[in-house]
């Protein structure tokens, strides 16, 4: 598919455009927000500043340590996005490699790799993530690793299926007869051809990764020195914001997570429709 054709297809898809514009806004906030709005989670307010409702000074009120919720929200966007995207890269790297090698090499390799994938598919991911996070300790790199390592199995399955169709194509046969090595074929022929699918899948997995990060942080496994939206939700819940009806504390991060995940999901579906011939509308 040619590039401008792809863009044309994408622009025709309203869902995708809405998702994409939402995502652009979030990325802009995450990139430039923290430069404009200075937020230091280590600067606390006074006793009178604790859990104040929204005002001119604090647009979204203050939290349980007298800090500005709006600024925390801006700072948290960066953490949530970075963790989500970085974890997705790990997932995609493992999932794509396993999928391609499994599909291309076939035989015993395929069997072993797919059984491992099955194990990861049926493993209850939330308890697994919780156990891993508790074992490794709650710093941001461990969180990324934990989410990445638990989220690749679906991708591996999809990529393997696509690889299976690709490898039967004639030009692969031809390459082989010219003496191309397996790695050469995988890198130059298989990978570029499964890439659109991987790309669409990446977007969807990112949505899951962001949700996973929020879940882990909400359950108190997050990195408290780099507060994400999930961490904010955790502290809001634990400090009784719900029973004190401090809606300004728990609503904004919740809504932001929802919108960000929605943005990725909409885009993911749109891309899936374009790159997946079975779903494409003619």
């Amino acid at each position: 598919m040619k590039e401008n054709q792809f863009i044309k297809q994408f622009l025709k898809n309203k869902m995708g455009v809405v998702g994409f514009s939402m995502l652009v806004i979030f990325i802009l906030i995450a990139l430039f927000g923290p430069m404009i709005v200075q937020y230091d989670p280590q600067v606390f307010g006074e006793r009178a500043d604790v859990l104040n409702p929204p005002s001119a000074a604090h647009w979204l009120g203050t939290d349980d340590l007298g800090r500005d919720v709006f600024k925390a929200l801006i700072a948290g966007s960066r953490v949530s996005l970075i963790v989500g995207v970085a974890a997705t890269f790990i997932s995609m790297f493992i999932g794509t490699s396993v999928g391609i090698f499994s599909g291309y090499l076939g035989g015993k390799t395929d069997n072993v790799l797919m059984r491992i994938t099955d194990v990861f598919l049926v493993l209850p991911w939330l308890p697994l993530m919780l156990v891993l996070a508790a074992l490794l300790g709650s710093n941001i790199w461990n969180i990324i690793f934990v989410i990445g390592i638990t989220g690749w199995a679906g991708t591996a399955r999809i990529v393997r299926a696509q690889t299976l169709t690709e490898k039967e194509r004639q030009y692969i046969e031809r390459s082989k007869s010219f003496g191309a090595s397996n790695l050469f074929i995988i890198w130059h022929h298989i990978f570029p051809n499964v890439f659109p699918l991987v790309f669409a899948n990446t977007i969807l997995v990112t949505a899951t990764s962001i949700l996973s990060e929020t879940t882990l942080s909400f359950l108190g496994m997050g990195d408290v020195s780099k507060p994400s939206w999930g961490t904010t939700l955790h502290f809001a819940f634990e400090s009784g914001a719900l029973s004190n009806k401090a809606y300004w504390y728990f609503m904004p991060p919740g809504v932001c997570v929802l919108l960000l995940v929605l943005a990725f999901t909409l885009m993911g579906f749109a891309l899936d429709e374009i790159v997946n011939p079975k779903l494409r509308q003619r």
Partner: protein, 607 residues
């Protein structure tokens, strides 16, 4: 396929909703006192356990020779009277002759002898330290115990070691006693142990044959809550009658409820910033063992602001080791010896220790390149302590000390402090007894590998703590306890951050008869008087109000179901949760497989 899963899910959901009602569903005229707690017992083996929740259960299921009343005066329990010889070295206890163990066996002096000797020989658990100095235990007859000590033992009557049934425990070899589980928990106390469902509840039944004042309530359930907010909601909705271990910030929303009485008290204990004092293993930053750096850390922290923000000003800032709630035992530091919030003093201390070079992030190091960078462990299930950790981090940053925080759960924290020792500081707390010895003993060399969680060892301190247990003149003993605290305050193995104010909420429309102890607490107060006195207001009112919640549940499920549930016991909630996840995961797997199969078939068709 899909349908099957959904039916299974529905069944599981129904079962789950029936979970909270125990076998009592059938007997609704019986009274159940439901107490919400945050802490799970760590173990129900008195040789192993050291948490407050377990201590409370031991007080209810077992008895000690003497106990405390509401005013913390020593009153008879298993012993009716006692004498001290003129040389102050021999104690004679006369025991009750009408006490039966929960299994019907008679209680005799042999049980006392077995228990004390077993604790002494195993050198384990929280009770071991209160038996120090005892050299011999003789039993001239079934109801007399003669205890000899090598020197006078000042805290003999403050020793509340639970007496265990020798006929059950004595066959256990002492070196593996930690692994022994007396699943029936046979004791002599006013309550009998029924069950402990991990993360859910501990159930006790009234012992009608109790030799003292039997309880008014028929059953006692500790409902374990992971979240303060949920517990406060639960008492407001009448799901529990009492809620314990709450901070002021948690209960604010409940204070306007006229059916809830709030008992506030300053806890007999403290929350400390503990510093790793163990032998250097390469796993931590040895700079933390420099006393001047620890003092600088102490100066750098604004404890008042921590108390203001985290506890809404409702706790007392910390200073010395024995909390002010222990009255005259508390040592009040005066004058310029008191370390207030003084970041400049902290910086000058660090600079005089050679930490003069400051890097781009503002963190200090000395000429040999040792950086002031430490790792703090904090308990993930205690949000207040996590917040305190964040504040400490920011105060230390201000004076050039880097602090990394890891939040871990209690079990991991215990393993890392007692095992790997790969940390520099942690935040945790201790609760004390009525006698200061148990708290003082925590940091003695003798308690390394038992209670001493930072491996602190100071012969001078050991000597004072030992000496005060032999001092029978109270005024002199108070003096020595103060001396021990002054030493700890200077050496700073623990920086006492605050003495928390705690709150206990009681539904005053359901429960009556409770009177706070001198400490201000009703439950978890070193005495069980309020468990005996707690009474439901009237049978009629009780059954209409208190059992309304379980009654609704019963309607949804048949008695057979609820019975099988209670028999299941254990951690059935977790099991069911895992089953649900496995079912969903399995369903997803099968669906996924079908899908890929179909995809494969499609491909085949294409070819």
């Amino acid at each position: 396929m899909k349908k099957k899963i959904s039916i299974m899910l529905v069944t599981i959901l129904v079962l789950m909703s029936a979970m909270p009602l125990m076998s009592f569903g059938a007997a609704q005229d019986e009274t159940i006192l439901k107490i919400g707690v945050k802490q799970e017992p760590d173990s129900l083996n008195p040789f192993v356990s050291w948490e407050m929740a377990s201590f409370e259960i031991f007080m209810l299921t077992y008895d000690s020779l003497v106990k405390f009343d509401r005013n913390y005066e020593v009153v008879p329990s298993l012993a009716t009277s006692w004498e001290l010889s003129d040389d102050q070295l021999t104690w004679t206890f006369h025991l009750r002759d009408d006490v039966k163990w929960h299994d019907g066996e008679p209680f005799t002096s042999a049980d006392v002898k077995y228990t004390y000797e077993a604790f002494q020989e195993s050198e384990m658990g929280m009770y071991y330290t209160s038996l120090g100095g005892i050299t011999a235990i003789e039993t001239p007859d079934d109801y007399t115990v003669v205890i000899s000590t090598d020197s006078p033992k000042a805290n003999m009557l403050q020793n509340v070691t639970p007496i265990l049934p020798a006929h059950i425990w004595q066959d256990q070899p002492l070196d593996s006693i930690a692994d022994f589980e007396d699943t029936a928990m046979v004791g002599t106390g006013p309550f009998k142990f029924v069950s402990w469902d991990m993360n859910q509840q501990v159930v006790l039944d009234r012992n009608p044959d109790y030799f003292g004042q039997p309880a008014n309530v028929d059953h006692l359930i500790y409902v374990i809550y992971a979240n303060n907010d949920t517990m406060v909601q639960a008492i407001q909705n009448g799901e529990i009658d009492v809620a314990l271990e709450l901070d002021y910030v948690d209960i604010k929303s409940a204070l306007s409820n006229e059916n809830i009485t709030d008992y506030a008290y300053e806890e007999n204990g403290f929350t400390e910033l503990a510093f790793n004092q163990s032998e250097w293993s390469g796993n931590f930053n040895q700079l933390i063992q420099n006393k001047m750096i620890r003092q600088a850390i102490s100066y750098a922290i604004d404890k008042q602001k921590i108390v203001d923000l985290v506890y809404d000003g409702s706790s007392t800032i910390g200073s010395t080791y024995i909390p002010p709630s222990q009255g005259e035992w508390h040592y009040a530091v005066e004058g310029d010896k008191l370390r207030g919030y003084d970041p400049e003093k902290a910086i000058s201390l660090l600079e005089s220790e050679g930490f003069t070079s400051v890097d781009a992030d503002g963190y200090r190091s000395n000429d040999s390149g040792d950086k002031l960078s430490f790792l703090l462990l904090s308990r993930s299930d205690n949000t207040s302590e996590v917040k305190v950790g964040q504040m400490v981090q920011s105060y230390l940053k201000a004076v050039g000390i880097e602090l990394n925080i890891e939040t871990v759960d209690d079990g991991v924290l215990y393993d890392r402090t007692m095992g790997e020792k790969d940390y520099d500081m942690f935040i945790w707390g201790w609760g004390g007894d009525i006698d200061p010895t148990v708290l003082l003993n925590v940091l003695t060399t003798d308690n390394i590998d038992n209670l001493n969680d930072i491996f602190y060892s100071n012969p001078e301190y050991d000597a004072i703590v030992e000496a005060q247990t032999h001092e029978m003149d109270r005024a002199k003993r108070v003096e020595m306890v103060h001396e021990a605290q002054a030493l700890l305050y200077e050496e700073l193995p623990y920086d006492i951050l605050y003495y928390a104010e705690n709150h206990q909420l009681v539904r005053n429309d359901l429960i009556t008869g409770l009177t706070p102890t001198v400490s201000g607490a009703v439950f978890f107060a070193n005495t069980i008087v309020n468990y005996a006195d707690a009474t439901f207001i009237t049978e009629a009112a009780e059954s209409s109000m208190n059992s309304s919640a379980p009654a609704e549940n019963t309607a949804d499920s048949t008695p057979a179901e609820s019975e099988s549930e209670s028999d299941g016991g254990g951690s059935s909630g977790l099991v069911i949760a895992i089953v649900v996840i496995v079912v969903i995961g399995g369903g997803f797997f099968i669906w996924q497989r079908n899908k890929s199969k179909k995809a494969n078939e499609n491909q085949k068709n294409e070819w």
